[in-house]
Amino acid sequence: MKRIKTIETRDLKTSVKTGGCGECQTSCQSACKTSCGVANQQCEKCVSEK
């Protein structure tokens, strides 16, 4: 497309079927302890499949 470039991202709609294993890290355990951000967590399944 001439005017729009799309960055490759995980399709959240597909993840309804493929996600939910729950093996990912608990958000607050890593470094913040005083806020909540889930976006910067990684998917255990995706990482192990890489």
Binding site: M1, K2, R3, I4, K5, T6, I7, E8, T9, R10, D11, L12, K13, S15, V16, T18, G19, G20, G22, E23, C24, Q25, T26, S27, C28, Q29, S30, A31, C32, K33, T34, S35, C36, G37, V38, A39, N40, Q41, Q42, C43, E44, C46, V47, K50
Partner: protein, 461 residues
């Protein structure tokens, strides 16, 4: 829902419910912004008027651009619908398992930091150390309630956990002795102020701890102003050489230097850069969470300054990356390809359900920030959760539980935000801490901008 913003010369369009990220030129940006509120002819007319005098843009160009938008829409990458609300309601009834514990092995501290949410480690209660018996019982509780979950996390927290290092070591040994037969994989984190770091601790941590969180606020004068020893002296000179030694021995991985910024240092990027100058690369800096009348509390007047700081940080990180000297900032860590699935994005941090804090006496709380609040005592490691009504309140804490989040583009990035912050700001765990939301949204915008910049650099090479 889409979120359009401009930063660092990029026009960025985030499609909230698909997770797609697009970088667009000015015409496409304007077309996308109008797309849901105007028909094609109206868009064409508006664009012809706006770009009057720009020879590169005529009606055919505008219609081509609209066609591209419609193609992306048909592919589910723009204006994707919100199909997740029903999933969120199902979460209320779900059976949850426990997968992480924050073990408060020491409700005491060897520093006297003014802004400590844990009230100098005591959590507004008595000083205490966790016994090995309580720690083992906590681990048994975790295993028993973890279902088929393989990866279990234990954070040694305080107060200052190294004031009870023997129990830390023995708890780790206990976990290692049973994890195979139980089909589990323990990952340990240590959060420490560094005062008691020595080679024995470092060797142990580097062998056993998946992650260590090392508390440093940045520049010496900033750090020493609030992170004082019990004698009232600054702690910077005590801990920085220890942290440098620790990180070097650790091989510069699996750690965060974690700071807190306050109203006193709204130019906090200088503290992050100072950390980098000290040789640290894995960095985290959190806004202070405290009552608004505390002298160091962040104010609404600080917000524009903080927004600018986050942009300065993002741009500088891109520069450092180009120069081959990258640093990591915790809140800018976005993996757009291998990030969390929609279930994680809806369900949030898991406090009170998947994640609990354990006091030295074995009491269970939804998270470390609720410890000491009797209204939120969940139970204990011997009897389990004895107040399911409290737990049910936390099961509801998801991206769709808070009315304020309904129209927010960032809800699948923060999952509705921190329950403790919401409680302290509004009196309800399903409220929202608006100030934190503003900072969070800015951080996500910066993080996505960095991804766009990196993708463009990669494409150009």
């Amino acid at each position: 829902m889409i979120h359009c913003y401009k930063q660092n010369g990029y026009n960025i369009v985030l499609d909230v419910f698909s997770g797609s990220v697009h970088t667009v030129d000015d015409l496409a940006y304007d077309v996308i912004e109008m797309y849901e509120t105007a028909n094609k002819d109206e868009i064409v007319a508006a664009m012809l008027e706006k770009y009057n005098g720009d020879d590169s843009i005529d009606e055919a160009e505008i219609r081509d651009c609209i066609d591209d938008v419609e193609e992306l829409k048909s592919e589910g990458k723009l204006f994707a619908t919100d199909d997740y609300e029903d999933l969120a309601f199902d979460f209320k009834a779900r059976n949850t398992v426990v997968k992480a514990l924050c073990l408060h092995v020491a409700h005491t501290c060897n520093l006297n930091c003014e802004y400590c949410f844990a009230s100098q480690g005591k959590y507004h209660g008595d000083r205490a150390l966790m016994s090995l018996e309580v720690a083992k019982q906590a681990i048994d509780f975790l295993i028993e309630h973890s279902g088929s979950r393989r990866n279990l996390e234990v954070d040694f927290f305080g107060g200052e956990p190294l004031m009870n290092f023997d129990v830390v070591k023995e708890t780790v040994a206990y976990c290692r002795s049973i994890e195979k037969e139980k089909g589990k994989n323990f990952r340990f984190t240590l959060t420490t102020n560094g005062v008691l770091l020595d080679d024995e601790v470092i060797d142990f941590a580097n062998k056993e701890f998946h992650n260590v969180v090392l508390s440093l606020d940045g520049r010496k004068e900033v750090h020493d102003r609030l992170r004082k020893t019990v004698n009232g002296n600054g702690s910077y000179d005590i801990i920085v050489p220890k942290f440098q030694h620790f990180v070097e021995r650790r091989g510069n991985r699996g750690y965060y230097i974690r700071g807190t910024f306050t109203h006193n240092n709204t130019d906090f990027t200088n503290d992050i850069f100072h950390m980098a100058d000290l040789g640290f690369t894995e960095l985290s800096m959190e806004p202070v969470v405290c009552p608004p009348d505390d002298p160091y509390a962040l104010t609404y007047d600080d917000l524009p300054v903080l927004f600018e700081q986050y942009e300065i940080l993002a741009k500088d990180m891109l520069r450092r990356e180009k120069e081959g000297k990258p640093i990591t900032f915790y809140h800018y860590m976005l993996d757009l390809n291998a990030g969390p699935c929609i279930y994680k994005r809806i369900s949030g941090c898991g406090s009170g359900t998947e994640y609990m804090a354990v006091t030295p006496w074995g009491d269970l709380y939804p998270c470390h920030q609720f410890v000491g609040n009797p209204d939120y005592l969940l139970g204990n490691v011997y009897d389990g959760v004895t107040k399911p009504a409290v737990q049910d309140e936390f099961k509801l804490c998801n991206a769709y539980a808070r009315p304020d989040c309904k129209d927010c583009w960032a809800k699948l990035y923060c999952s509705g935000g921190c329950a403790a912050n919401a409680y302290h700001a509004t009196g309800s765990v399903t409220g929202t801490y608006q100030y934190g939301c503003e900072l969070f949204k800015k951080r996500i915008e910066c993080a996505i901008m960095m991804k766009v910049a990196q993708a463009q650099s990669a494409a150009a090479e």
